[in-house]
């Protein structure tokens, strides 16, 4: 039996929280974890756990990378859309 407050109890609890962070890492990084007691617990855990902070940083870095490479819209497609929008607004919608 593990006694609350002892170092063995803290290690075991810390490990369980790491697993919880891993399960919810996307929601944590995306700011989508509902503000519950559990969320506060995980947030507190992450301030003291390098491994969980690193995991969150990996997901953040990935998000930044995705945003960087997928932000660009094909300018020709955008131009054609603008042309179509102008035609529609000028009353040519029935011809399209």
């Amino acid at each position: 039996m593990r006694i609350p407050g002892t170092s063995a109890w803290k290690r075991r609890r810390f490990g369980r929280l790491c697993v919880e962070v891993a399960v919810h890492i996307d929601e944590i990084v995306d700011g989508e974890l509902p503000a519950t007691r559990k969320a506060k617990l995980l947030e507190k855990h992450m301030t003291g756990c390098n491994s969980c902070r690193d995991e969150a940083e990996v997901v953040r870095a990935l998000k930044r990378g995705i945003a960087r490479v997928a932000q660009e819209a094909d300018p020709e497609v955008v131009e054609r859309l603008h042309k179509l929008a102008r035609r529609l607004c000028s009353g040519e919608s029935h011809d399209v």
Binding site: D26, E27, D30, E32, D54, E55, E57, V58, V59, R60, A61, L62, K63, R64, G65, I66, A67, R68, V69, A70, Q71, E72, A73, D74, E76, V77, V78, R80, L81, H82, L84, A85, L88, C89, G91, S93, V96
Partner: protein, 181 residues
């Protein structure tokens, strides 16, 4: 001569939808297998959006456009239907396999963008569009779920699996470089 209602609709279209053209181009690309297909999808979506302006309440134009694009895509052919509705298509990394867990490798390496771009292209559209909506367009899980007409849990699961797949792709590149040096 345009009626006052038509003028009003055109003004709403111009104000709410026209600024979203880059968004529409990106989302159509994320739902398509090729640039040509994306171009057609974007144009058809815009046309449908224009014709449905009187039924649009004006809130969340991005989510509204994405929903029209999604419905248009799955109605176009069976292939799109399968890809946009399917839960399959991503091979899960094996347990213990490298998963791109070095943040520096992701943000610093010069060719990472190219690898990431290719890995995104290789994702099935059902997964790629969720990544696009959440990570690029900043939609919430709920907004993405509404736009794609899927449960929030499906958004979360597709996002998680897609990110794992992307991390794995990045990690492979990093390891390859280490092997060469």
């Amino acid at each position: 001569m345009a009626t006052s209602t038509e003028v009003d609709q055109n003004e709403r279209f111009d104000k709410l939808i026209v600024p979203q053209m880059p968004f529409l181009a990106r989302v159509a690309r994320s739902m398509s297998h090729s640039a040509a297909e994306a171009d057609d999808l974007a144009q058809e979506t815009l046309l449908k959006a224009y014709r449905a302006m009187d039924r649009f309440d004006g809130s969340h134009p991005k989510a509204w456009l994405a929903r029209i694009a999604r419905n248009t895509a799955i109605n176009r052919d069976q292939r799109n239907r399968e890809f946009l509705l399917s839960e399959d298509g991503i091979v899960e990394p094996e347990e213990g396999s490298a998963d791109g867990s070095d943040p520096e490798a992701i943000v610093v390496d010069a060719d990472v963008d190219e690898v990431l771009r290719r890995a995104l292209d290789e994702l099935p559209p059902a997964f790629r569009v969720v990544v696009q909506l959440v990570d690029v367009e900043d939609l919430s899980y709920q907004e993405a779920a509404d736009a794609l007409e899927i449960p929030v849990g499906t958004v979360m699961s597709r996002l998680h699996r897609a990110r794992r797949r992307l991390r794995q792709a990045l990690s492979g590149t990093h390891l390859d470089r280490e092997k060469q040096s």
